[in-house]
Symmetry: C2
Subunit: 366 residues, 2 copies
Amino acid sequence: MEYETPLFFHVMGYAARADGDVIDMVSGNPDWEPPAALREALHEYADLEPDAFQYPPSEGMYELREEIAARRGVDVEEVVITHGAGEANYLAMARALERDSGSEIVLTDPVYSYYPGKTTMLGGTPRYVATAADGQLDPADVRDVASAETAAIVANSPNNPTGAVYPEETMRELVEIAEEYDAILISDEVYDHYDLSGNFTSALAFDSDHRIVTNAFSKSMAITGFRVGYAIFPPHLVENAKSRHMLVNVAGSRPSQYAVYHALRETGPEYYEANRDLLRERVDSFTAALDAAGAEYTRPEGSFYVMARFEGFPGTLENTERLIDEAGVAGMPGEAFGSARSDWLRFALVTPRVDKAAERLAAYFE
Amino acid sequence: MEYETPLFFHVMGYAARADGDVIDMVSGNPDWEPPAALREALHEYADLEPDAFQYPPSEGMYELREEIAARRGVDVEEVVITHGAGEANYLAMARALERDSGSEIVLTDPVYSYYPGKTTMLGGTPRYVATAADGQLDPADVRDVASAETAAIVANSPNNPTGAVYPEETMRELVEIAEEYDAILISDEVYDHYDLSGNFTSALAFDSDHRIVTNAFSKSMAITGFRVGYAIFPPHLVENAKSRHMLVNVAGSRPSQYAVYHALRETGPEYYEANRDLLRERVDSFTAALDAAGAEYTRPEGSFYVMARFEGFPGTLENTERLIDEAGVAGMPGEAFGSARSDWLRFALVTPRVDKAAERLAAYFE
């Protein structure tokens, strides 16, 4: 069995090895501060007794599951703490495919690079639905490819890479389609704290046995390296997901879970709001420079990313590397996100030098 | 698809809910101190800049891989840092099954509880080989079940649950059998620092393209909750394993890897020797009490465990719960480790109250 390897690490490696000064806009690693309470909790943890250094419960620290359940309005038994959103999506897709209710997974195009690889690794077949120019997903298009063969529909809002935030009506219809075809809507909501539009709607808003919600603290707390995420399963799907989690990873990382639990309890809304404000400023200055460079782009409604198209400069891996070497800006090739935007480049607004990068792009393409 | 869930968490839960004072000898969670350097490194990490809180390289922190490669005498490119030995074994078994060279995985009986579940979850079929009364594995018996259908042979020395340490000759023959049948020897060496016999031989002692070695710092540093392990793959098998690791977990937990890296560099042999001495003392006092109780048992050559059989008291889940309620000692039922020792109970020597537990057992069974 072969499966696709995402290009992220290749491009990151290329940028790191480049000679000149390169502004890294490759992957979604926040450059801002984690919550202060997270650092404090890690110090506290480092001095605990040895028993605090041993396996947490396989499905995650109970207090953390309780805190998440209370915030999301679900039963604690439905919450499984995972090794980031990555494992949460893996468990959700595996669970959907193991129901013997189809082997196709409906993905959008453009698509987050990990979904196709997870699908094929798990023995499923991806079916793609193109989104509109602004990244919005038309549920009617999803319905067109849905069938008895549909095991799952994967939605990601706020979206990586397009920045689209799906309105309530879209989320409602996606849940309905999943129910109609006895499939599972997997709603990856990892950018929920970076909704700049105010339109974000969680799939949890719709009571259904046919949806799994995945999320993580990686982006919301600026700790992609801690690997703490979660999935919320309908009661009848949760046990088997817990078993797979146990058989793959045994349990999550306890120092990470401990730190996240305290940060979650002790961090107020102003922390998250300040990060959104920072992102808004960066969107403004970056898109202004894209205007100056004559690029086509969509202003993101959420997440960290701007996709842009430069006339005569398709977003191939080769051109991405050229941009690193000649302009000193590292983005991701559009071809890493399916076929619909292979002419585009994706830039992650996670560097204090967004302005500088924008200047460099404007100068390079003018 | 259904797969077996290990009984550990069930028994741990039962023991935790029990009314009286229960001595926990259920799972292999060390009760001794982690290396001092590990605590220091965690403090240091908590104060680093935000970029140190983001994704480590998917295959693990480079410095940690280098340190492991140097100690194990392999090329750094063969080392993948995993989420504990659990993920390392999962990746190794997946890789063996994906080679299209058989779908059977040869396991010992008694067997470490997670192996059968991983095998069936990955679509493989377990084939069991009974070990001798002392836990030793006869390579001739492995050869008897090996065939073109054999994808992998899983060996665990020092062994959980029997405490057996396989001699060099056994390891050599297991590698030879794997080569002969184009299979992979997966050598799980997570208890290598707890060899009390001096007979431990790593599968790395034999140069071969047909062996994968898995290990972790969970036991050696008394940090089962940190989830840092590794696998050493032959060069031609490593790329695909890295892809699966990336598609399941993206990357490992960085605070854990950072702490382990510093602890590995800064901890001398006296730390590990002191833990072995502690274990030796516990083996002595526990087996003395088993003698007093008239139990049958095998004195462990390594790992944390003693398996014992009490006349007229088979090691069922029911009897395990009875022992928790009536004697205040929590072990694991033998039936959790295959069929060969279903009459036995397993006790983990990871409590300062080993003496007290031994007294209770002697009193209960006398």
